[in-house]
Symmetry: C2
Subunit: 334 residues, 2 copies
């Protein structure tokens, strides 16, 4: 298996690290190690048809800030020039246009390559087209890490719960908002909690995507398409963020033994992101940066799952899970 990796920031480096850590497992299971034959960051690339030295790649990126010495102008064109079997697409999410990720995934699927991504933009905007392209060209296309990071949710619904009619999924899918709201529970005003989240690296300098609910909306869109077979984009989601929540509102909730949480919900009739009052002690009253999903299934009943929604190794672990699933399917292991 020859892998191209587009994006070599935190997650891309995590993927290389996880592949190194699982060398024995992967070699044992498949008889050979999947090789990264192309790694691209935002400006440069490194390529080796025999497989790049992953440790050297990680070290070079750390030392020089780049994966290679050679620049490129068009990542999709670079992909077209490369001999590979699978694209791992981990460029940053662009929720307005789909960005480079959309171009890379489209080019890979058009060329009959399997794709794993944690990039929410392309799926939040063009889910149906991309799935259609994958089907048409016989490609495996997996994206477990787009929702909930290391928390299993998409493959859980597709595989373990495939015989269920899933009535609804409600959850907390943005650790940054939950961190801010948890701090507000303890009396911090919004601006101060946001600043602290930024200092800790949980929130970006421009926190709009997180705090205005767009990130959660992208995840809800992906669940709506992949689990509920709806044909919707992020623009169909009714979105309210957390930036207008006041300390007074949080205090008033607390006086009724409630907290405010940013809940994403998808069901047959609902596609919504909004701050909601949650009773203290309710599973969705969870504090901190964890993600949580409540799945309502018709036979199994309620199933709740929590896990880390972000992190270098955690996100890479979701990619590893998708990689193993594809390798198993491709090679007939089961």
């Amino acid at each position: 298996m020859k892998i191209a990796v587009s994006g070599f920031g935190t997650v891309g480096q995590g993927v290389a690290e996880v592949l190194l850590r699982r060398r024995d497992f992967l070699t044992g299971r498949y008889g050979e190690m999947p090789q990264i034959v192309l790694a691209m960051d935002s400006r440069t690339y490194a390529a080796d048809p025999e497989g790049l030295d992953l440790q050297a790649l990680i070290d070079r990126k750390k030392e020089t800030g780049s994966v290679g010495k050679t620049g490129y102008s068009d990542s999709a064109e670079l992909l077209s020039r490369t001999d590979y079997d699978m694209l791992i697409e981990v460029t940053p999410t662009d929720i307005k246009t789909g960005g480079a990720g959309l171009k890379n995934i489209t080019r890979a699927l058009e060329s009959g390559k399997d794709v794993i991504t944690v990039n929410k933009g392309p799926l939040a905007l063009r889910f149906c087209e991309l799935i259609g392209l994958a089907r048409k060209n016989g490609c495996k296309f997996r994206f477990e890490g787009t929702v909930g990071g290391a928390m299993p949710i998409i493959n859980l619904c597709h595989e373990n719960l495939v015989g269920e009619h899933i009535r609804s999924i409600r959850g907390i899918f943005n650790g940054t908002c939950n961190y801010i709201l948890s701090k507000m529970d303890k009396g911090q005003p919004y601006e101060q909690a946001l600043k602290e989240a930024q200092q800790l690296g949980y929130a970006e300098t421009d926190p709009t995507n997180d705090v205005e609910g767009y990130d959660t909306a992208a995840k809800v869109t992906i669940l709506a398409n992949s689990v509920f077979h709806k044909k919707v984009t992020v623009n169909d989601v009714k979105i309210t963020g957390i930036s207008k929540i006041t300390a007074e509102a949080v205090a008033q909730a607390a006086s009724h033994n409630m907290v405010i949480r940013l809940i994403g919900e998808v069901s047959e009739t609902k596609l919504e992101v909004s701050p909601r009052l949650i009773p203290v002690g309710h599973p969705l009253s969870i504090s901190g940066t964890l993600n949580i999903a409540q799945i309502e299934a018709d036979l199994a009943g309620p199933i709740t799952i929590t896990g880390r929604g972000a992190g270098k190794i955690e996100t890479a672990s979701a990619i590893l899970s998708d990689l193993i699933a594809i390798l198993d399917e491709r090679r007939g292991h089961a």
Copy 2:
């Protein structure tokens, strides 16, 4: 797919009901409906090589207390006389000897049949032998419902988390004990809480298996074997039950903002069932009859899952999940 069902109590009837409810789904996915060709309860059986009428079977069992008019003396011998592809083994758990379930599963695997079971006894006593027999004879052998009922845990670890090193699993795997302990949190003495659990049908007339921790120990044993690849039986588990927990102990825990919960734990070095002090608000402080498992994975980090640990349709839903997985593997769907 011709299915033999051994055991036609609550869970067996649930299986028939779930198959009826999923007729369209199964027929659509596989082109034909899996047929139950043999159904046995504790005394009688019904057989039809073309497939039994499931609604008539359920109705007959309800009206007459039996699935058929013909008795049998040896269920394993009856299996040997039947043409079938898969055994669904749902006779009651016998944790001391393995009971009829052990004989039925052994016979089925020896004959090269696939097996799905929710019967904990055979696996808690003879895990390695049964897995070995399945491998030797090329049989699929699945048992998701033995631990946590409808809560996905075994297949979750085997499939979604197969690339992880799982460090430990801790959880509440017995809803009866958790119901009793939750009632004791509210000031009820043990005996009264147990009696109430019995009246509600959560606890059996002889509650020993539940309250002395043997049921939890069986589940921990199954996790130790299937997830941690240990070769242990229920007799290797260090077990303390809840029958000696006093109202005073619960009150003292409460004064430190703690509750007492019966926790099953398995790790590389631990195999234990014991009542533990859990801080209020901790995921394991869960109240009522739900089951919960905390999985500690080396890459993904902590993953927590909760779901219904028992119930007719809920347990049958775990069997449906195993059935779909086997049918997918057998017919190359993925």
